[in-house]
C-alpha cells in the first residue's frame, strides 16, 4: 500500500531499498539505453576513423592517378612530338650530310688534281730519263 502511495507521489524503492524518483524498470532501461548509446558512439567514432583513413587513402590514390594522368598526357604529347622531332633531326642530319657531301666533293676535286699532278710529274720524269 505504502508502495502504491509512494508511487503515486512519484517515489519508488529499488531492490536495495534506496529511494528513487524513477521507476526501477525505467531506470534499468534508461541505463541500458545509455550503455547502448555509448557503445553506438564508440562504434561511430571508430567508423569515422576508418572512413577518414579511407578518404585519405582515396585522396592519395586520386593524387597518384592525377599525376599518372598528367604523365600519360605528357608522354602522349611527347610521343606526338617525337615524330616532329624526328623530322627536325632528320632535317638537321640531312643538312649535315649535304655539308659533308660538299666537303667530300671538294676533297675529291683536290685528290683528282693531285693525281693528275702526280701523273704529269711521272710523265715528265719518264721523258727526262728517255731524253738522256
Amino acid at each position: 500500500m505504502a508502495d502504491e502511495a509512494l508511487a503515486r507521489a512519484g517515489l519508488h524503492f529499488d531492490e536495495l531499498n534506496k529511494i528513487r524518483v524513477l521507476e526501477p524498470e525505467i531506470a534499468t532501461q534508461t541505463n541500458e539505453l545509455k550503455e547502448e548509446t555509448k557503445e553506438f558512439l564508440d562504434k561511430m567514432s571508430e567508423f569515422q576513423k576508418i572512413v577518414d583513413s579511407f578518404i585519405g587513402l582515396m585522396d592519395n590514390v586520386g593524387g597518384e592517378v592525377e599525376k599518372e594522368k598528367m604523365k600519360a598526357i605528357g608522354s602522349r604529347n611527347l610521343l606526338k612530338s617525337v615524330a616532329q622531332q624526328r623530322q627536325a633531326q632528320q632535317q638537321e642530319l640531312q643538312a649535315l650530310i649535304t655539308e659533308k657531301k660538299i666537303q667530300l666533293e671538294r676533297l675529291r676535286i683536290q685528290y683528282d688534281s693531285l693525281l693528275k699532278d702526280e701523273q704529269e710529274q711521272n710523265d715528265f720524269i719518264e721523258q727526262f730519263i728517255l731524253q738522256k
Partner: protein, 796 residues
C-alpha cells in the same frame, strides 16, 4: 615558361641523337677541311628569356643583353658570368642591342669600353589605331662605361632602337630604329645627322670602311648612303624577303646580308653580287664578318655556319640554341659569341685551320695546340702553347705563331726549341714572311723581326691605319717593305727593311689609279727589286722599287688580273687573268726586251679551275689554286725555268746554254736571251737570240761585240734594252761624248744637240762633220757645227 620546358626536354633530345650514333658534335666535324668551329654552351641558360645581343670588349670579355632585363658580363677564361649594371632590372629596361667600343689604335684606353645598350621601356603604351601599333614612347640609347656607370642617356628613336654601331675611329655612333630612321650621334650623345627616314623599320646598319658611308636595310633593299647630305645613295634590291642583318668588312670591303628568304649573300661595295647561298630551312637571323675579313659566320635556327670570305661554307654546326639573333667576333678573329633564342650564350672558337708548306702540314687542333706533320717521313710533332693561338704563318723554312701574349718562331728543322719573345699587344692581325725576316701587324704598329727574334725595324708613315692592312696591301721582301696608303689609294709607301726608313728620296710610289694589290718579288739584288701592282681596273703593272723620281718606270704586264702570286725562290710570277693561267718566267723581261716578253710567258686555259679561281701560293714549282667552291687544286709548272734562274744567278752561263739546248723550248731560250742581255753577257745573248730566230738582235749584238771599249758596249746594251738615258749616261760618264751625240742623233733626238753644246768646247769641236755620211738629218744638224775639226784617233 615555355622556353624553360623546352630546355628540360633538351637532355632527352640529346639521348635521341646519341641513339643514332652521335656522341658529341666535335667528332662529327673532325673530318671537316680547313676551318671549323668548336662551340660551348652552358648547361643551364643564364638568361631567362631570349638573348638579343652580344658584344666583345676584349678577347676575354663578352657582354650579353637579354629580354629578361639583364645584362651579363662573361669571362671567357673561366666561362663565368656576372651581372652587369643591375639598374637594368630595377628600371625594367629591355636592352635590344649592344655596341661595344673597342680600343682603336690605343687611343681610347682611358675609356676602354663604352657599352651601348638600347632600351625599349616597358612603360611604353601601345594604342591601336585602325589595326596598326603606334609606339608612343621614345626609346633611348645609353652610354655605359666599363664600370657600369651610365654616362649618357639619349632619347633616340620612336620605338625600339634596333641596331647600333660605333664608327671605326670611335668618335661617332650610328643608330637605326623601328621608326625607320638612321641617325648619327657624336661620342657625347649629340645628334649629328639624320641620314634616312623610311616608312618601315631599319633592322640593321653598318659603317663603311672609312666611316664616310653607311649601309642600312630598307625592307628587301640595301642602301649605301654617304654621310655627306648631298651625295646620292646607292640602293639595290638584294633579297626576296626582309633583310635582317648586314655587315661590311673594312679589310676586304665586302658586304654581307641575311634575310628572311633564308639566304645570305655577299656583295662588293658597288652592290654587285659576289655570292648567293642556297635556300636554308629557316630565315638567316645573323651574319658577322671576322675582323680580318677572311671568314664570316651566319646564324639561323639551330644553325651556325662558318664560311670563307668568298662565300663557300667551311663548316656547319647544329647547336641547340634556337635562333641565333646576334653573333659577334672577338677582335683577334678567333672567337665568336652568339645570342641564342633560348637564353643561352654560345661561345665558339675557330680551329682546324690547315697550312701547308712543302712537305710540312700544319693543323691547329685546338685553342692552344698545333699538330705538325712531316709528310716525307710521317714524323709528327704536337706543339702546345701557353696562351690562345691567334695567327700562324708557315713559309721560308720557318713557322711563326702569334699567341695572345707571345710570339714563337720555329725552324722546320727543329720543332723543339722555338725562339720566343713577348708581344706588346696580344692582337696580331697579320703575319708576312720573307726569306730572312717576318712582319707582324698589331693594332698599333708594324714590326719587322728576324727569325732569331730580333726586332729589326718598325716602319711608320702619316695616316697609317693598321686595322685594314691585309696581305694584298702589305708586302715584305728581305730589303723592302711596301704598304699601300689607305688615305690615298694611289700611293704605295716603300721602306727599307733593315731600318724602317723610307726608301731613297723618301717619296712614296704614285700610280695613276687606285691600287688594289701590291706584291714584291723575293729574290735577286735589292737594286733590282720589282713590285707588281694590280690597280682598280685589274691591270697588272711591274714597277722598279729602287729607281727614283722620273726614272722609275711602271710597265703594264697584263690586264684583267684576278689573282697573282710571286714565286718564293725565283722571280717568277703566276697570275690568273681572264680565264687564262699565266706564268711569267722572267717578268723583268719587260724592262729588257719587250718584244721577247711574250715568248717568256707560259699561258694556258684556266677553265679546269672553274669560275673565279684564286691563287693561294706558288712555292717552288707548285701552284695552289682555290676554286670558287672551296676546293684546292695544285698544279706544277716546268722545273726548267727555275733551273735556268739558278744557273744565271750563279753566273753559270755555259750551264744555262746547255740546259736550253737540252730542253729545246723557245720560252726557255727567250728567258735566257733576256737574262743574258740584262746581265750584258753578250755571247750568251747572241746564242739565245739566234735560237729564237731574232736575227736583227743577233746582228746588233754582234756589232756591239766588235766594240773594243767596255763602256761603249755597256751603253749599246743599254740602248738595246731601250734605256737610252742610261746608255747616254754611261757614255758621258766615261767621256765618250761623241758617241753619246751620235746615239742621240740616231734616235732622232735633236734636243740632245744642245746637250752636246754644253759640253766642253774642245770636245765639242771634234770631228762631227764627217760622222754620218748618208744620213741627211744628221747632215743638216752637223752642218750647223761646220768648221769643227775631227780627230778620229780619239774616236773608238
Amino acid at each position: 615558361m615555355k622556353l624553360k620546358s623546352t630546355l628540360q626536354k633538351q637532355p632527352k633530345h640529346q639521348e635521341l641523337v646519341s641513339s643514332v650514333g652521335w656522341t658529341n658534335p666535335d667528332e662529327v666535324y673532325s673530318a671537316s677541311d680547313d676551318h671549323q668551329l668548336k662551340s660551348t654552351l652552358q648547361k643551364q641558360p643564364k638568361h631567362q628569356e631570349l638573348v638579343s645581343s652580344v658584344g666583345w670588349t676584349n678577347p676575354d670579355e663578352v657582354y650579353s643583353a637579354s629580354d629578361d632585363h639583364q645584362v651579363l658580363k662573361w669571362n671567357i677564361l673561366n666561362n663565368e658570368s656576372t651581372g652587369f649594371w643591375p639598374n637594368c632590372r630595377k628600371m625594367s629596361i629591355r636592352p635590344t642591342c649592344i655596341g661595344s667600343l673597342k680600343e682603336y689604335q690605343g687611343r681610347n684606353k682611358a675609356q676602354m669600353c663604352l657599352c651601348c645598350l638600347l632600351q625599349m621601356s616597358d612603360a611604353y603604351c601601345i594604342s591601336t589605331y585602325l589595326g596598326f601599333l603606334n609606339y608612343q614612347s621614345l626609346c633611348k640609347f645609353l652610354l655605359i662605361s666599363r664600370t657600369g656607370r651610365v654616362e649618357k642617356s639619349v632619347e633616340a628613336h620612336r620605338g625600339a632602337v634596333l641596331s647600333v654601331k660605333w664608327s671605326y675611329t670611335g668618335s661617332e655612333l650610328l643608330t637605326a630604329g623601328e621608326d625607320g630612321q638612321v641617325k648619327i650621334w657624336s661620342r657625347s650623345g649629340m645628334l649629328r645627322a639624320t641620314l634616312a627616314q623610311n616608312s618601315s623599320p631599319v633592322y640593321s646598319v653598318m659603317w663603311g670602311p672609312d666611316s664616310d658611308q653607311v649601309l642600312y636595310t630598307q625592307g628587301r633593299q640595301l642602301v649605301i648612303k654617304p654621310v655627306q647630305a648631298t651625295a646620292k645613295p646607292n640602293t639595290w634590291r638584294a633579297h626576296d624577303g626582309v633583310i635582317l642583318k648586314v655587315d661590311w668588312n673594312p679589310v676586304n670591303n665586302l658586304i654581307l646580308s641575311a634575310a628572311e628568304d633564308c639566304k645570305y649573300k655577299v656583295w662588293d661595295n658597288y652592290g654587285r653580287l659576289m655570292y648567293s647561298s642556297n635556300t636554308h630551312d629557316y630565315p638567316i637571323t645573323s651574319v658577322s664578318w671576322s675582323p680580318d675579313g677572311e671568314l664570316f659566320v651566319i646564324g639561323s635556327f639551330n644553325t651556325l655556319r662558318l664560311c670563307d670570305q668568298t662565300g663557300w661554307s667551311h663548316s656547319l654546326e647544329k647547336p641547340n640554341t634556337g635562333s641565333l639573333f646576334n653573333i659577334a667576333w672577338s677582335s683577334d678573329s678567333t672567337q665568336i659569341a652568339g645570342a641564342c633564342g633560348n637564353g643561352q650564350v654560345l661561345f665558339s672558337h675557330v680551329i682546324e685551320k690547315r697550312l701547308e708548306w712543302r712537305n710540312f702540314e700544319l693543323l691547329i687542333t685546338g685553342r692552344k695546340t698545333i699538330d705538325v706533320r712531316n709528310v716525307n717521313n710521317e714524323a709528327r710533332e704536337k706543339l702546345d702553347f701557353r696562351d690562345r693561338i691567334i695567327k700562324v704563318s708557315l713559309a721560308y723554312h720557318h713557322m711563326v705563331v702569334a699567341t695572345s701574349s707571345q710570339c714563337y718562331i720555329y725552324s722546320v728543322k727543329n720543332w723543339n726549341t722555338p725562339m720566343i719573345f713577348d708581344l706588346k699587344e696580344g692582337s696580331v692581325t697579320l703575319i708576312r714572311q720573307s726569306e730572312k725576316h717576318f712582319l707582324l701587324v698589331d693594332s698599333s704598329s708594324i714590326y719587322v723581326y728576324t727569325y732569331e727574334g730580333r726586332l729589326v725595324s718598325s716602319p711608320k708613315f702619316v695616316g697609317m691605319r693598321m686595322d685594314i692592312l691585309n696581305h694584298h696591301t702589305v708586302s715584305l721582301s728581305d730589303d723592302t717593305i711596301a704598304i699601300r696608303d689607305k688615305n690615298d689609294e694611289k700611293t704605295v709607301n716603300l721602306f727599307e727593311t733593315s731600318n724602317g726608313k723610307p726608301l731613297g728620296d723618301g717619296k712614296p710610289f704614285q700610280h695613276s689609279t687606285e691600287i688594289m694589290e701590291i706584291a714584291l718579288d723575293q729574290c735577286g739584288l735589292p737594286s733590282e727589286r720589282r713590285m707588281t701592282i694590280v690597280d682598280r681596273n685589274r691591270d697588272l703593272y711591274l714597277t722598279q722599287v729602287r729607281v727614283y723620281g722620273n726614272n722609275r718606270k711602271s710597265l703594264k704586264l697584263g690586264t684583267m688580273i684576278q689573282s697573282l702570286v710571286w714565286n718564293d725562290e725565283t722571280n717568277m710570277l703566276v697570275a690568273l687573268n681572264n680565264g687564262r693561267f699565266t706564268v711569267w718566267y722572267y717578268p723583268n723581261a719587260i724592262y729588257v726586251d719587250n718584244d721577247v716578253l711574250s715568248k717568256t710567258v707560259m699561258t694556258r686555259d684556266a677553265s679546269e679551275f672553274g669560275k673565279k679561281p684564286h691563287l693561294l701560293s706558288f712555292i717552288g714549282k707548285q701552284v695552289a689554286i682555290r676554286r670558287a667552291e672551296g676546293s684546292v687544286i695544285s698544279t706544277t709548272i716546268s722545273p726548267y725555268p727555275s733551273m735556268l734562274h739558278d744557273c744565271v744567278n750563279h753566273n753559270r752561263w755555259d750551264d744555262a746554254v746547255r740546259l736550253c739546248r737540252f730542253v729545246k723550248e723557245d720560252s726557255l731560250w727567250a728567258c735566257l736571251a733576256v737574262m743574258a742581255a740584262y746581265a750584258k753577257e753578250l755571247s750568251t745573248a747572241e746564242v739565245a737570240y739566234a735560237a729564237i730566230d731574232e736575227t736583227d738582235k743577233v746582228q746588233f749584238i754582234q756589232n756591239i761585240k766588235e766594240l773594243s771599249r767596255k763602256e761603249a758596249r755597256n751603253a749599246e746594251m743599254a740602248l738595246f734594252c731601250g734605256q737610252e738615258a742610261d746608255g747616254e749616261a754611261i757614255l758621258l760618264q766615261s767621256g765618250l761624248i761623241f758617241r753619246a751625240i751620235i746615239i742621240n742623233i740616231q734616235l732622232y733626238n735633236w734636243n740632245s744637240v744642245e746637250m752636246a753644246r754644253r759640253m766642253k768646247g774642245e770636245q765639242r769641236q771634234r770631228q762631227v762633220e764627217r760622222c754620218g755620211p748618208g744620213d741627211r738629218q744628221a747632215g743638216t744638224v752637223l752642218s750647223r757645227w761646220a768648221g769643227m775639226e775631227t780627230d778620229w784617233q780619239e774616236l773608238t
